[in-house]
Each structure stands twice: as C-alpha cells, then as structure tokens.
C-alpha cells in the first residue's frame, strides 16, 4: 500500500506550550485513518498540521516533517495555497457560504480556475454533489440558498465543496458531531465511497464511528501518539494500557 502522507518526528508548539510530541505516522493512500483521544490530546492539532492550517495561528510553531507524496509541505519552496488545495478540510459544524448551493460548490473551482467553460463548471458541480451523495436531493433547487438545507445536507454540501477542487486528501474534524444518526450514517457511507478516490483522515470523539469508518486508528493522549494500527485490532486487542482504558471507558 502506498504512503500518501508520511509524518516524521512532528512537534507542535503554541507559544511555549508543546501540543504534539515527536509524532511519527504513515497515512496510507485510499484508506481512512481515524484519530481518537480525549479532548486536548492533540488530535485536532495534528490534523491541522496536515494542511498547514496551524499557520494561521501566530504563536504556532512546527518542527519535523509532513511529507505529502515525497515532498515536505513545510519546505520553504512550497506554496501553502496549493497544499490546502491538495489537502482539503471539512469542519465540525457545517459552514456553507451564504450563497446558493451551486455557488458553494463552484467557489473553489472558480478561484483556482479549474474549468474552461460554463458547461465544465456545471459538470464539476454536479459531479461533486453526486459524489457527496447530495445531488438527487438538491438537483431541483441548485440556486436556492445553501442555508435552507438541513444540517446533514449542509455537511454533505461542505464535503462536495471540499472535493470540487479535486483534492488528494480530505481532513475531517468531527464531521458528524452536529448531525442526527441518519445524517451521520449517510456521511459515513459517503466516507467509505470517497476513499476509493481520496485519502481520508477523520478526527472523531465517537469511538463507534472510528470503528465503523476507518481502516487505521491512531490514539492520541497528552500530545503523544500512543498507539496506531489496524482498526479491528486496535478495538479488540489494544496493546497499550492507556488505549485500553480510553476505548473501554476506564479513562480518568
């Protein structure tokens, strides 16, 4: 299996406080890797290192390497905008722009100039909405405000928006925490479909969700990567006492 992102000896600091300690992990292509761990363990901070989202925090400082297809995304020569195009992100709360459904998806391709004609753009929007399993629900109202959609639909719209610029990796930070079980199931089904084309990294507090959607799971604790491995193995026979404690609800 190919390695999509190879993280080597990653340390992250917010001013004086160290948030991540010497994290090394290889993320495989076309797999979903779930990041789990208690609040404040560093899993979201780690996720944000993967597309340099921490750059926007002035006090954040990063050491080590995040190698995307053989190239360190923290190297001087690298264009951060290009990194974020290749490594897209979906957030906890659905955050559609206050525009139409169509415009939400078209936004990325527009600013990146990813289409030649109007017909091209229509194809991208329809393709992205289809891949996000939303097109059939919204095809008759593409030009209505996105904010009128339900929470679950809005989140799938955000996923459509993320995939419209044709990324290689999709980072998801608690994408279902604001959704009901049906909407959650739809997003989870979507995650499974999407990994054929993309590499997915998902942060979740829902352990059953991590078990359901991922092939690999990584457990973070106090800024350290404690254990990572095949999801089935991690949830049946965790090797570290801390992992065992956390996933069985003995943490405290």
């Amino acid at each position: 299996m190919d390695i999509k992102i190879d993280v080597k000896h990653l340390n992250l600091f917010y001013a004086e406080k160290q948030a991540l300690h010497d994290v090394s992990i290889s993320l495989q292509s076309h797999q979903t890797t779930a990041l789990i761990g208690p609040s404040g363990c560093g899993k979201s901070s780690f996720l944000r290192c993967l597309n340099r989202m921490n750059d926007i925090i002035p006090s954040a400082r990063c050491e080590g390497q995040v190698i995307l297809d053989g190239e360190d995304i923290y190297a001087r020569s690298v264009d951060v905008v290009e990194v974020r195009t290749r490594v897209g992100m979906v957030f906890q709360k659905p955050n559609p722009f206050p525009r139409s459904i169509f415009e939400n998806v078209a936004y990325g391709p527009r600013i990146h100039g990813l289409f030649k004609s109007k017909a091209d753009l229509n194809d991208i929007v329809e393709g992205s909405l289809t891949r996000a399993a939303l097109f059939n629900e919204v095809k008759d109202r593409l030009h209505q405000p996105a904010t009128r959609l339900s929470g679950g639909q809005q989140q799938r719209l955000c996923i459509a928006r993320a995939i419209a610029v044709n990324p290689e990796v999709i980072l998801m930070d608690e994408p279902c925490s604001a959704l009901d079980p049906i909407a959650t199931a739809k997003v989870e089904e979507l995650i499974d479909d999407l990994r054929e084309k993309f590499t997915i990294v998902i942060v979740t507090h829902n352990l059953q969700q991590a078990a359901r959607v991922s092939q690999k799971t990584a457990f973070f604790h106090s800024g350290y990567l404690v254990e990572e491995g095949e999801t089935g193995a991690l949830f049946t026979t965790p090797q570290d006492e801390r992992t065992q404690g956390y996933i069985t609800g003995r943490y405290g």
Binding site: L207, Q208, A211, F235, T236, T237, P238, T243, Q244, G245, I247, T248, G249, R250, Y251, G252
Partner: protein
C-alpha cells in the same frame, strides 16, 4: 483494572462474573451428587440432580440475556468485549457439564434393576481430575489467570489415560461375565460423561486464553 467511568457498566460486568461463578458452583454440586447417587444407588438423590438441572439451564439463559444487553447498551470493546464473549462461551460449556451430571444421575436410575458391580467404586477416582480442571478453569476465568488456564489444558491428557484404563477394566468385566454387560454399559456412559467434563473444561481454559491474550488458542502451540 481501573473501574469504568460509568459505574452501572462495571456492575453489569460483575454480575456476569457472579452468575458464571454461581452457575459453576451449582454444577460442581450437581457432579458430586450425581456421583454419590450412582455409587450408593441413591435414586432420590438422582431425581434431585435431574430436577435441579432446569435451574442451571435458566442461569445460562440469564447470562445470555445479560451479555446481549451489555453488547446492545454498552458496545463493549477490547477486554470488555472479550469478557462478554468469553462469558457467553463459558456459560454454554458449564451448561453442558451440568448436563453430564444429569446423565450420570440417569445412569443411577438405569442401574436400579441390575446386579451391583464393584467397578462403580472407580468413578470417584476417575472424576477427581476433570472436576479439579473444571473448578480451576472457573477460577482462571474469574481471575484472568493465563497460567492456570494453560495448566488446566495440560491436565486433560491425564484424564484421557485414566479413562482408557477404566474402559479396559469395564471390557474385561464384560468378557468375564456376559451378565455384566448391562451394568458395564451404564458405567461406560457415566465414565464417558466424566471424561467429557475434562474436555469441556479445556474449552473453558481456551476461552480464558483468548480473553487474556486476545488471540485464538491453537492446539499446536500451548505454551
């Protein structure tokens, strides 16, 4: 192991252990009574054993229900999941062992009109190791004791040897006098039931092995 944050979860897992412990204790008593009944020809005691079997069957149902409830409501993982799976398997083995006790008690009733054979006195000696295996397997489950489980597994070889020796004695008695064929056949069934207690106890030991190590037990590599 540290307690769960949710106390009720711990209570349920503890109840699961207690039920198996209780079921095991009852089954040991059943075995003892069954053997006593056959040696002394005590039919009243044999009937008591047969009647009590229902209570043990009910305990198995109770354990099954609790295990399913824990799976549904707590979604156990890792050691907790393995505990619930082990409990399901073990309660099933214990129930089988209780059935063997009942079968032995039935032999007591069958032997009623047959000539008394001194060979019946050999059954307690035959039972000694299987019963010990069973008791130790239950302790291994309660205490998550891997070494004890492996020890139980190794004890079974001795049971097989003793069983074969006893079998030879029964055959010799049958050859010596055809009148012995009837009672010897009953004793043969009883002996086979005793031998099976050892087998089921190794199954319990294997379930404990998986519980503790997270790996399936392989006969090829018992440490």
């Amino acid at each position: 192991m540290t307690d769960h944050i949710v106390k009720a979860y711990d209570d349920e897992l503890n109840t699961l252990h207690e039920l198996i412990h209780h079921m095991g204790e009852m089954t040991v008593q059943q075995i003892d009574k069954a053997i006593q009944s056959i040696i002394k020809g005590d039919e009243k005691l044999a009937h008591k054993v047969i009647e009590t079997d229902d209570e043990i069957n009910l305990l198995e149902v109770k354990i099954d229900e609790l295990a399913v409830r824990i799976i549904a409501l707590r979604q156990p993982v890792a050691f907790d999941l393995r505990t619930v799976v082990a409990a399901l398997k073990i309660s099933n083995q214990v129930e089988r062992i209780a059935d063997y006790a009942t079968n032995i008690a039935r032999r007591t009733l069958m032997l009623h009109d047959m000539p008394h054979l001194p060979l019946v006195e050999g059954l307690p000696a035959l039972l000694k190791i299987p019963k010990r295996m069973f008791e130790r397997a239950l302790v291994a489950f309660a205490t998550h004791d891997l070494n004890l489980a492996l020890h139980v597994w190794h004890m079974d070889r001795e049971v097989d040897e003793l069983f074969n020796e006893y079998l030879t004695e029964l055959f010799n008695a049958m050859i010596a006098d055809p009148k012995n064929v009837g009672p010897c056949t009953q004793l043969l069934f009883a002996a086979k039931n005793i031998e099976r207690i050892g087998d089921q106890s190794t199954n319990i030991a294997e379930a404990v092995y998986t519980l503790v190590t997270g790996k399936q037990f392989k006969e090829s590599d018992p440490q």
